[in-house]
């Protein structure tokens, strides 16, 4: 019974996602949390492509999230773009270009160097956004974002209500999951996992792993940029902290809590993190202390995360 269920979920991961998240806002305590889970889950999904599947630990994914948010936010607030798709596209372009440039530099070194270099570049962007207050709003954040209605052929939907926005995000995240599944099921996806397992052997098999890693980096940046753009729409403001190292840390924690290298891990982790943050912050200001301790315990004792451990238990 259990095994049959696991097999069904494994065979149709995107369908499972759709079924769960179609009713998700009505299951969680309040609807805003559901939208947050979707968006942060997408962020973690992008990070997971690089860390969980390619084996590259980035400590600077705030860069792509933040650039996605600023790209979308600037297009709406400063360029007064009236198109939702154009605004999200601007965020994607910014995140993608940064992914190519930063990826090029970071991938010159591997292992632990890579983690710290990615962090350094993200901090560089943070300082730039902080000081370019004329454009980005600096410390006050980017304000004045008007969310245009969603325009599809023959259909215009205003996104003011939180439920409408949830289902808009839901549709985009489902699309992103389909793309991710396509990437992972392709020969390219198999090479990514080969690089994670043993990059020397992947080289010996004749793969140009530098190019493949860079591609994986850029795909990852694009997913995170989309998530950042959606978050700019959700909040109607881009705080400068979206580029700060704490944001990079958050996505690392979410992914590891849920289970790196698993398809649903990022969403499980985003839910766990956001619910924990919400509950803990109601009774203590020092909630990061508890999140830090829980995270340390996971690294030491449950490195596969919640979903990864569950899968391993069910399969054995």
């Amino acid at each position: 019974m259990k095994r049959a269920a696991v097999r069904a979920v494994a065979a149709h991961p995107v369908l499972t996602f759709v079924l769960v998240f179609a009713i998700f806002p009505f299951v969680v305590p309040y609807k805003a949390l559901a939208t947050q889970v979707l968006i942060y889950g997408l962020f973690a999904l992008g990070f997971n492509l690089l860390y969980g599947y390619t084996g590259l630990l980035s400590f600077g994914h705030a860069a792509y999230w933040g650039l996605g948010a600023y790209g979308t936010g600037l297009a709406l607030a400063k360029l007064k773009l009236a198109s939702l798709w154009g605004a999200l596209g601007a965020g994607l372009v910014l995140a993608g270009v940064a992914g190519v440039l930063i990826g090029f530099f970071c991938l010159r070194r591997r292992g632990i160097y890579f983690a710290m270099l990615s962090l350094a570049f993200a901090q560089l962007l943070y300082f730039i956004a902080f000081h370019l207050a004329d454009v980005t709003g600096g410390d006050d954040g980017l304000r004045g974002i008007q969310v245009p209605p969603l325009r599809l052929p023959g259909l215009t939907v205003p996104l003011e209500s939180s439920l409408a926005f949830y289902y808009f995000a839901f549709a985009l995240v489902t699309l992103a999951l389909l793309v991710l599944k396509r990437i992972l099921d392709s020969p390219f996806g198999a090479v990514l996992q080969a690089i994670r397992e043993n990059s020397d052997r992947a080289v010996a098999c004749g793969y140009d792993i530098r190019k493949i890693k860079l591609l994986s980096f850029v795909f990852s940046a694009l997913f995170c940029g989309l998530a950042g753009g959606l978050d700019a729409l959700r909040l109607a403001v881009v705080p400068v902290e979206s580029l700060y190292w704490t944001t990079s840390g958050q996505v690392v924690i979410m992914t590891l809590l849920g289970g790196a290298g698993t398809f649903f891990g990022p969403f499980v982790g985003a839910t766990a993190f956001l619910v924990l943050e919400d509950r803990l912050s109601t009774f203590t200001e020092s909630w990061p202390l508890f999140i830090g301790l829980i995270f340390m315990a996971f690294v030491l004792f449950l490195p596969k995360g919640i979903w990864g451990t569950l899968l391993a238990r069910l399969r054995s």
Partner: protein, 299 residues
């Protein structure tokens, strides 16, 4: 901008700025050497290094309060941070050997969040100020300008610590094993050396150096719970520029980055943090293994 200064004033102001850069560089050197030693020997990046630095400053503040003696605090605070480092290596990092090299980084990332929150709970959210000892409160005339005595003291202390560390690594048996262990751990183990004890010692020394950097920097910069985070990132840039695992590299790069920060602060304050990263990008482009690094040695 220095435009309204006359030429002699500009030179005086610039000399002062170069001097400030030297002091800042010394703090970077102390931090980078600890990071670099730990990485070179154990391939562990200690993200909580910045928290150890911050803890050095806070413990220094507390000890000055209890003992009324900056000198005692200057010795005891780094030792306490070193002890904490020993505990962290023994109980938190040791279980991770043999697993992915990312795991210690992840663990110490969590640890640094925990240390920051514990410090906030203990000393409050508002920053503190740590006063330099009275004997070092004044300024000294060096012939080409007046310089704060405390900053000169920081330069002297750091230089002495560096000489001591160099003698330890070059002239003692433990130092020999440390150098050997960072070059070829398998060979050193094959010779019957228990490297685990060496790792413990090196982690303790590196942490103590971070603590020392913290208490030394305390009277010059503001002391607050997050002070270590930006600093650890900058120190890591120093290690990348100098070459991972290279002590001369950490010293030269530390002094270089100190000057970069200080001189750009003088001419264009907004660019100070940004230029540090540009130097790093340049080095990565031209010499990916760092100024003193050997390609492929520690990847």
């Amino acid at each position: 901008m220095g435009g309204h200064f006359g030429a002699p004033h500009l030179i005086t102001a610039l000399t002062a700025q170069l001097f400030t850069g030297l002091v800042l560089g010394m703090i970077f050197v102390l931090l980078a050497i600890g990071l670099s030693l730990i990485f070179g020997l154990m391939t562990v990046v200690n993200f909580s290094h910045g928290s150890f630095y911050m803890l050095g400053a806070y413990l220094g503040f507390a000890l000055v309060g209890y003992t009324k003696s900056f000198w005692l605090a200057l010795i005891v605070a780094p030792l306490l941070v070193g002890l904490l480092g020993l505990g962290v290596e023994r109980f938190l990092i040791r279980p991770l050997y043999g697993r992915s090299i990312d795991d210690p980084l992840l663990l110490t990332f969590g640890l640094s969040a925990v240390i920051i929150e514990v410090v906030r709970l203990t000393w409050g959210k508002i920053g503190l100020s740590l006063d330099p000892p009275q004997a070092l409160g004044g300024a000294v005339n060096l012939g080409f300008g007046m310089f704060p005595a405390y900053r000169l003291f920081v330069i002297v202390v750091t230089a002495l610590v560096l000489v001591g560390l160099w003698l330890f690594l070059e002239r003692t048996n433990v130092g020999l094993v440390i150098r050997g262990g960072s070059r070829d751990p398998l060979m050193v183990r094959a010779l019957g050396v228990d490297l685990r004890r060496i790792w413990l010692i090196v982690f303790g020394i590196g942490s103590a150096l971070a603590g020392l950097a913290g208490i030394l920097a305390g009277p010059m910069r503001s002391v607050y719970a997050e002070m270590g985070v930006t600093t650890v990132i900058e120190s890591f840039v120093v290690v990348v520029v100098g070459g991972m695992g290279s002590l001369p590299g950490a010293i030269v790069a530390g002094l270089l980055i100190g000057q970069v920060v200080s001189v750009t602060t003088f001419f264009a304050p907004k660019l100070a943090e940004i230029n540090v990263f540009l130097v790093m990008a340049l080095v990565l482009l031209l010499r990916p293994s760092g100024l003193f690094g050997e390609a492929g040695l520690m990847e």
